[in-house]
């Protein structure tokens, strides 16, 4: 039986995500049978996939509260409840003011609102600043997660290295860009 892990690593470093998955599937089908293929490519079951729907090892984009959940505009949301957060990770209201667990504006000892922090787009601003080059959101893919449809988003840039520190893949990126890191957007559409 061939060394499947070595083959997949080699392929991962040299091809696109979709092409990579297709080739891995074919090879594994030959090597270990169709059952093993379906087990390995099913979202959420492989060891390296750290949130539902993410089917490869590229790590999360830097996000103020951890899991890379964003809204439709790419701004950060708290993964646990979808509440908007600022760049410091504090829950904020529609005016960008930090709020407590009950949604009340947080005040200083003189009763003034605590200073607002910037709330910037995770990919287009945060990652771009980290890479010191423009970033793009190109294509995306949707999967069913937790009973709702989730949009899986690649943060793309002209980079050969992904956030993990190793070779970046093409993923859902266009025009020669590669995936630097990944995010997701939860819809309210049941599935």
């Amino acid at each position: 039986m061939p060394d499947v892990a070595a083959l997949t690593d080699e392929l991962a470093a040299s091809t696109s995500r979709r092409g990579f998955l297709a080739r891995v599937s074919r090879m594994l089908a030959l090597a270990a049978g169709a059952g093993a293929v379906s087990a390995l490519v099913r979202p959420g079951e492989a060891d390296a996939f750290h949130f539902c729907g993410h089917i490869y090892t590229t790590d999360s984009c830097p996000h103020p509260t951890g899991l890379p959940r964003v809204d439709a505009g790419g701004f950060p949301l708290r993964a646990a409840d979808g509440h908007p957060v600022d760049d410091l990770g504090r829950a904020v209201n529609a005016n960008g003011q930090p709020v407590d667990g009950n949604g009340r504006v947080m005040l200083d000892p003189d009763g003034r609102p605590l200073p607002s922090a910037p709330r910037t787009q995770v990919c287009q601003h945060g990652v771009a600043a980290r890479l010191n080059r423009p970033t793009h959101i190109d294509g995306a893919w949707y999967r069913c997660c937790g009973g709702h449809i989730r949009k899986l988003i690649d943060c793309c840039a002209y980079t050969r290295q992904r956030i993990n520190g190793d070779a970046a893949l093409t993923g859902y990126c266009y025009a020669g860009r590669h995936v630097y890191c990944v995010m997701y957007y939860d819809t309210k559409i049941p599935c």
């Binding site: 999360s60 509260t65 708290r78 200073p115 945060g126």
Partner: protein
């Protein structure tokens, strides 16, 4: 408690050093009936204290340099070091690493005795130059670096030096007498004496570990008391507690009552009472003048200027007036409704304040004699707030999603800032992966802080910072200070 325990352990560690080859040698070298025994004992004590102070002050300076890079986390590491030392001391374990060196023997032959033993004292006080008899010494080295407070380093070093000198000073003058010979013989023949000292150090190390856990929330900071909005004038610090204004001299433990919402600067104190701002002499609260400032909610004062921040219809305005002509008011800055101006801080004619909006934050410095302003710090990702200034040095808060730090640096746009206080993230982070999925992610998981950094003040020796509870009422704010 932590400092006191460190000093006690350092003293005992110094005493334990008497059981080293050098310790016995020094007793024998200066034992009576030689001439100038007293002078030799004094010289040895001075040398030992000086050597200890140099070593541990240097270690503390290393700590401040490393902490400036964000590389130290004493709240977590200090208890581990102290407990490890306690266990090894309690087990009477062999000392590793051991320094198998001794002081130069020939000095006693070629130098006057007090000079020679004075130099021996320096070498033994330095600690690193000769045999080490206790793990507590190595633990004190690590703890001093971690705490990164030069004053504590000097105190620990002197205590270590006193510990090294005291047994010599007590035994050497009588070592030639029968009682002295019995004492030295007991020291030489009863290793249990060393074991007792090492167990005492073990107990001390456990106490240090406990005390270190006790300061986890504020790292190496000293808790000043409940309250907010500190300001300083020389060694006088003033802040507002829930019970009213408090004035304290840094060199004294006692406090005095002053009006709440007060700020000091130079020889002046100012406070707000409703929409009235009172300016008075700091020494005796003799009123200089009072002015009405609608919406005033922050003030700063110096010997020549009064700066007020007022909020009217949701718009912040900073205004300045000379103490010599308080009716002549100049508007320094106005913030649009979506922005905020921070609390002003004055040192002489140098004013600093922050401007925060959803687009970013910046710290502005204004020379009030020329009205020339400049941005000295800015960020579009972190927020930089609550500056204070003294003698060309700036201190301010910097908050990111991963940490909150108080930084100190030059009041220019060039030069490096140094972290003097660090606490955790301003918000709770998740674990970076969803339940039931792979844990393999490099997403940072910083510990959330209990506090949010708030207003600062700067004296010649210390940095003061208000800590607001991250959750709950801001009235439970605490004031802490750290060494500059």
């Amino acid at each position: 408690m932590l400092t006191v325990t460190l000093i006690l352990v350092a003293f005992v560690a110094g005493v334990t050093g008497t059981w080293s080859p050098c310790g016995f040698s020094i007793i024998d070298t200066i034992s009576a009936p030689r001439r100038r025994t007293t002078a030799s004992c004094v010289a040895f004590a001075i040398g030992a204290c000086a050597g200890g102070a140099v070593t541990f002050a240097f270690l503390a300076r290393i700590g401040t340099a490393v902490r400036g890079t964000g590389g130290l986390h004493p709240a977590f590491t200090a208890p581990v070091i102290a407990l490890a030392a306690a266990i090894t001391e309690a087990r009477n374990a062999a000392i590793l690493p051991q320094i198998r060196r001794q002081v130069p023997e020939h000095w006693r032959r070629v130098l006057p005795l007090p000079v020679a033993v004075g130099l021996y004292g320096v070498l033994l006080g330095l600690g690193f130059t000769t045999f080490v008899l206790t793990f507590a010494f190595w633990a004190l080295v690590g703890l001093t670096v971690l705490l990164a407070t030069p004053l504590i380093g000097v105190a620990v070093g002197i205590a270590f030096g006193v510990g090294r000198a005291l047994p010599v000073a007590l035994v050497a003058p009588v070592a030639h007498l029968p009682v002295g010979r019995r004492i030295v013989d007991a020291m030489a023949q009863r290793p249990a004496l060393v074991s007792v000292l090492r167990r005492a150090e073990a107990v001390g190390m456990v106490a240090i570990a406990v005390a270190s856990f006790g300061v986890t929330a504020v790292g190496a900071a000293t808790k000043v008391g409940a309250g907010t909005d500190p300001s300083t004038s020389g060694s006088v610090v003033v802040w507002t507690s829930p019970g009213g204004g408090i004035e304290r001299d840094e060199g004294a433990a006692t406090t005095a009552a002053v009006p709440p919402h007060a700020a000091v600067g130079g020889s002046m104190i100012a406070w707000r009472d409703g929409e009235t701002v009172q300016v008075a002499q700091l020494s005796d609260l003799t009123e200089v003048f009072a002015v009405d400032v609608p919406g005033v909610d922050a003030i700063a004062v110096s010997d020549t200027w009064l700066v007020t921040r007022a909020r009217v219809a949701g718009i912040d305005t900073l205004a300045v007036r000379a103490l010599s002509s308080p009716d002549d008011v100049h508007t320094l800055a106005t913030a649009p409704r979506a922005s905020q101006l921070g609390r002003p801080a004055l040192a002489g004619s140098e004013l600093v304040y922050h401007v925060v909006s959803s687009a970013g934050s910046r710290i502005v410095a204004v020379d009030l004699t020329t009205s020339k302003s400049r941005v000295v710090r800015r960020s579009s990702s972190a927020i930089v707030t609550n500056p204070s200034v003294l003698g060309g040095t700036l201190v301010y808060d910097r908050q990111t999603d991963l940490a909150q730090v108080v930084e100190i640096g030059p009041l220019t746009t060039t030069g490096r800032d140094r972290v003097v206080y660090r606490t955790g993230a301003p918000a709770v982070h998740d674990v970076g992966h969803e339940p039931g999925y792979s844990h393999r992610t490099r997403t940072a998981q910083p510990r959330p802080a209990k506090w949010t950094l708030w207003t600062t003040a700067l004296s010649t020796s210390r940095v003061y910072v208000t800590l607001l509870p991250r959750t709950g009422s801001a009235r439970a704010a605490q004031l802490v200070s750290v060494s500059r």
